[in-house]
Symmetry: C2
Subunit: 314 residues, 2 copies
């Protein structure tokens, strides 16, 4: 039955949910799997990056490749392909999927161990690191219609995992603290959460960087969070627009007292917040600076800012 099913699938391949590169071949995304023995699963010993494609063009592809290669080095892993080969795989995934707006992931796991090894150490895995890439329909952490109205956020009680234990600048899947924060979101009927670092400063939201407009300055934390590419884009846009911006420590009180708050992520772009804990921001709507940055972010996409056209003919 499994064989017949397999055969059937080969005759009517469905690429609507995207395409994935796994074990050296491109398959429909829904068939992309990983061994349950891969340390990428059993030890979350994995790093990844996500670049998006908008209207057929990658956004800041080089920035994402740079960061991913740094993460791979940081975990002492090695890609089975070089930088150009990796870019080619990403192009191929998007091309095969046919998607014009896509969430494009590159994932490198430690790989599968050999039970015969006398020691169970990461260095044993030389040549076994496991690359998985995929292009799926664009992911919105916050749906566009909610971006119009803004969302409600809580400051989670759960503290962010300390940077000394797991480096947040090496993009990782250690979401246990984020998951705890999402439980708090569920319990308070909020929409999103932001976590404080163990040092008492604002860290990040699950999957997003956080921005606060403080005395007119667009401010993001300068440590304890992923060095987001969308965050970088926001700071670049501020420079271009002559909008004052800064990266510095943000206290809990400053966040609660901010003029405006928004999140930034590849998966959704600029995401305005209209309430933080009990406090209503900007009369319960996205603030003026958030609106301008949101608009500018997407306008720049249309203008081809930091864009790399997908090679759909590949």
């Amino acid at each position: 039955m499994a064989a017949a099913e397999q055969l059937n699938q080969n005759h009517a391949i469905d690429w609507s949910q995207g395409a994935a590169w796994v074990d050296g071949a491109i398959v429909p995304a829904k068939e992309a799997k990983l061994s349950v023995f891969d340390w990428g699963f059993t030890r979350s010993d994995v790093t990844y990056d996500v670049v998006h494609v908008w209207k057929g063009r990658f956004f800041r592809l080089d920035d994402h490749l740079d960061r991913f290669l740094r993460s791979v080095d940081g975990l002492r892993m090695e890609l089975p392909v070089d930088r150009d080969g990796l870019a080619q795989i990403l192009h191929d995934c998007v091309a095969r999927s046919g998607l014009q707006d896509s969430y494009v992931a590159m994932v490198l796991t430690r790989g599968q161990p050999d039970p015969a090894w006398p020691k169970r150490l990461p260095s044993n895995f030389k040549g076994r690191n496991n690359l998985i890439c995929y292009a799926i329909p664009f992911v919105w952490i916050m749906k566009p219609e909610i971006q119009e109205t803004g969302a409600r956020m809580i400051i989670a009680e759960a503290p962010r995992i300390a940077s000394s234990s797991v480096d947040p600048t090496i993009k990782n899947y250690h979401w246990g603290d984020f998951t705890n924060a999402l439980f708090e979101v569920e319990d308070t009927d909020a929409d999103y959460a932001v976590l404080m670092g163990p040092d008492g400063f604002v860290a990040e939201s699950p999957g997003s960087n956080i921005f606060a407009v403080l005395d007119g300055v667009v401010t993001s934390p300068n440590h304890g969070a992923l060095e987001g590419i969308t965050r970088k884009a926001v700071h670049d846009l501020c420079e271009l627009m002559g909008q004052p911006d800064a990266q510095r420590d943000i206290t809990r009180d400053e966040l609660l007292d901010a003029d405006e708050i928004f999140m930034a992520s590849t998966a959704g772009g600029i995401m305005p917040i209209r309430q933080i804990n009990e406090r209503i921001l900007s009369n319960g709507a996205p603030g003026p600076i958030s609106r301008v940055i949101h608009a500018e972010y997407w306008k720049k996409h249309d203008e081809g800012w930091h864009a790399t056209p997908v090679n759909y003919g590949a």
Copy 2:
């Protein structure tokens, strides 16, 4: 080709590496896979437990089932089967594998999200949590021949993830801090590492609880670590043998000054340490109390202590 390969595999199934229960069916362990979109991977949103089978009998199966069910509750997940159904699956996996000595895992992931959901919250996954079980050949974190001689351990600089961020009593795959400690092991040519908690007390080793013999008392940390079943077995054995034991905070200095040190884990049992950082313990061999507990642990296995015979006829 994929279909032909599949067919071929069905005709000559190899159970030598174990059997796994995935998506409701038992398959050879090496075929056990998980979608790369399962939050169990992309968010390490997963809990698990491991019980072992020795000479055809589960060891402390009820303790492991109890702990796993607590972990599942702690992550607000639900098993697709009840406790008896779960035990049956574990028996079935071991029976199908034919293994007499086995590492038997039960794993529950959050599952695969639906991109159409307006919010991306754990509660959306009701009915989608994904159970995976498997029985593979017994895993030795420390090979038996090394258990005879003892191993060398370092105290890692990398601190354990704080319990306030990720609860270590809910057994999890958040190994980023452990992986950093293993890099230190590689860099110093040691064998194993132990991590300090962020509160400055001894926490645990990657995959193992730690014990120090302090002034003749077999001591394990009382917080900041997994509540190990092998750890429990050690304390039970101490009671039975009239050996003084305790669970309390252990400082770095106490550990460095311990009479003896050993690790305890389902995957390997009692694992003696003969060196901690630069200090040689017990003249560079397992200490006398470690040896007695090691011997008693396996003797009790032969006597059927806390044993549940595997139903191989299932």
